[in-house]
Amino acid sequence: MIEVKEPKKRIPVVGLISGMLTVSKYMFKKPVTVQYPEQKPDLPDRFRFRIFLKLDDCVGCTLCEQVCPNHSINMQKVDRENPRNKRKIYPDVNFGTCTVCRNCQEICPTEAIYLDKEFETARTRNSFTYSPEELALKENEVIK
């Protein structure tokens, strides 16, 4: 048989006053709001968002295109002299569908494609696709 315990009888006003004390204690705590554009959020160490590409290291193996789960990466022809990349094909990335799964970074044999902490990619544009040359640039140098 289960015994149901009677709730403890309390003195009426004590609960109200302890509630008020709890509320006024929060007056002295720091607000958690981050004023975003002026104040950058404190990101975790392993946070990654934007995909970068080292054009000199890429060998055009198409592994990143094959491993991408939602076909955000497509190989593009780029007219560029690189002895390691004879077919002259480099990946582009559509950030509209990219889920930041990091499979491309993991699979890349030469560590040419990698992700970094940059995350402010918002601007006026027609397409979310970054061409291979744009992937090589820093975010503030990319002009669309």
Partner: protein
């Protein structure tokens, strides 16, 4: 020497009658400005305090630290279109917000503020029966709320008004009983015990120390008078949209909003005058006003904490509380006051 006589001295070349009329007009204007500024400061402090308690930042965009936010809000309210309900009862609908705000400002004219350096006291009305006047004027405010609720032809507003009436009838009696205890104790020491100023000048200890039960009852009544969260039965925003002010917009709504904050400030002032010694304190010859404002500010902060920490009480619970607990407690307080007055001859 108070501010009225100083103004009259200033205008005295214009003749006796004209100078007094001008002095009264200017002092009333001064008081309206004082009330409005204190309301703006209070609403700003409330918003900041609420934000800090909820670990937010609060208004911080308009002006330094968001200090001009309230002025921007007031401009927005003035510039808004007045949307009127079609089936309204026109005159009471338009009269109600003005009634709330005007009676609030009128109540401020009676309080004894104490001296403020060279300027002297800010009190406009001097009378032998200021307590009766004060509570008479305070009793006008609920009439404005009831008029608003009935005249806007809206079921939520009507229900809000009904609840407000039920609330008012249950706390007014204990409030007046606890005031009566003070008048009783003062009558042993001064012939004009209905005047706030003579009550203040004749007390030897703040009445809050002599009758803490009265202070408790009166503070609860003032919370109910200002109708904020534990007792915001007239507003009930989770079930009655916003009660009696549902159909109001623009500056008319702003008047109800200011009336609510103003009655918090007024309640704090009255509690500090009646129970906490009002303008008395160290160096009281010239700093009375400052002491009064400090006491009222602490009470306002306590009121805000009450507001932010408690949920709304159910209507029948509040009426039970008013009639079954507050009135007997106030009666006990009255008896204790009688014992203190007659027994010890204080």
């Amino acid at each position: 020497m108070n501010i009225l006589l100083r103004l009259q001295e200033l205008f005295s070349p214009l003749g006796h009658l004209v100078s007094y009329i001008l002095a009264y007009i200017f002092e009333s204007l001064f008081l309206v400005i004082f009330v409005t500024i204190s309301l703006i400061v209070m609403i700003y402090v409330f918003r900041k305090y609420m934000a800090r308690v909820q670990q937010r930042i609060g208004p911080n965009r308009v002006g330094k630290f968001g200090l001009l936010q309230l002025i921007a809000d007031a401009l927005k309210l003035v510039g808004k279109e007045n949307i009127l309900p079609r089936n309204r009862d026109d005159l009471p609908y338009k009269l109600a917000p003005a009634m709330v705000f005007v009676s609030l400002v009128l109540a401020f004219t009676i309080l004894p503020y104490g001296d403020f350096f060279y300027l002297g006291s800010f009190t406009v009305t001097h009378s032998e029966v200021t307590i009766i006047l004060l509570f008479g004027i305070i009793a006008i405010m609920p009439i404005g709320e009831v008029l608003a609720g009935i005249s806007s032809a809206n079921k939520y507003a009507l229900l809000g008004a009904l609840r407000a009436v039920a609330k008012d009838v249950s706390f007014e009696i204990p409030m007046m009983l606890s005031v009566l205890a003070i008048v009783m104790m003062a009558s042993a020491r001064t012939p004009s015990s209905l005047s706030l100023e003579s009550i203040l000048s004749s007390e030897f200890l703040p009445y809050g120390i002599l009758e803490p039960i009265g202070l408790f009852v009166f503070f609860i009544s003032m919370v109910a008078r200002a109708s904020y969260t534990p007792f915001d039965l007239g507003e009930s925003d989770s079930e009655l949209v916003s009660g009696h002010s549902t159909e109001y917009s623009g500056m008319r709504f702003g008047m109800f909003y200011m009336g609510m904050f103003g009655s918090i400030f007024l309640g704090s002032l009255i509690v500090s005058i009646l129970y906490l010694g009002g303008p008395s304190g160290p160096l009281e010859s010239s700093l009375g006003f400052i002491w009064l404002i400090i006491k009222a500010a602490i009470l306002v902060l306590i009121s805000f904490t009450v507001w932010l920490s408690m949920p709304r009480i159910r209507i029948d619970k509040f009426i039970n509380f008013g009639w079954k607990y507050l009135i007997p407690i106030a009666m006990i307080n009255l008896i204790l006051a009688g014992i203190i007055t007659l027994g010890w001859g204080l």
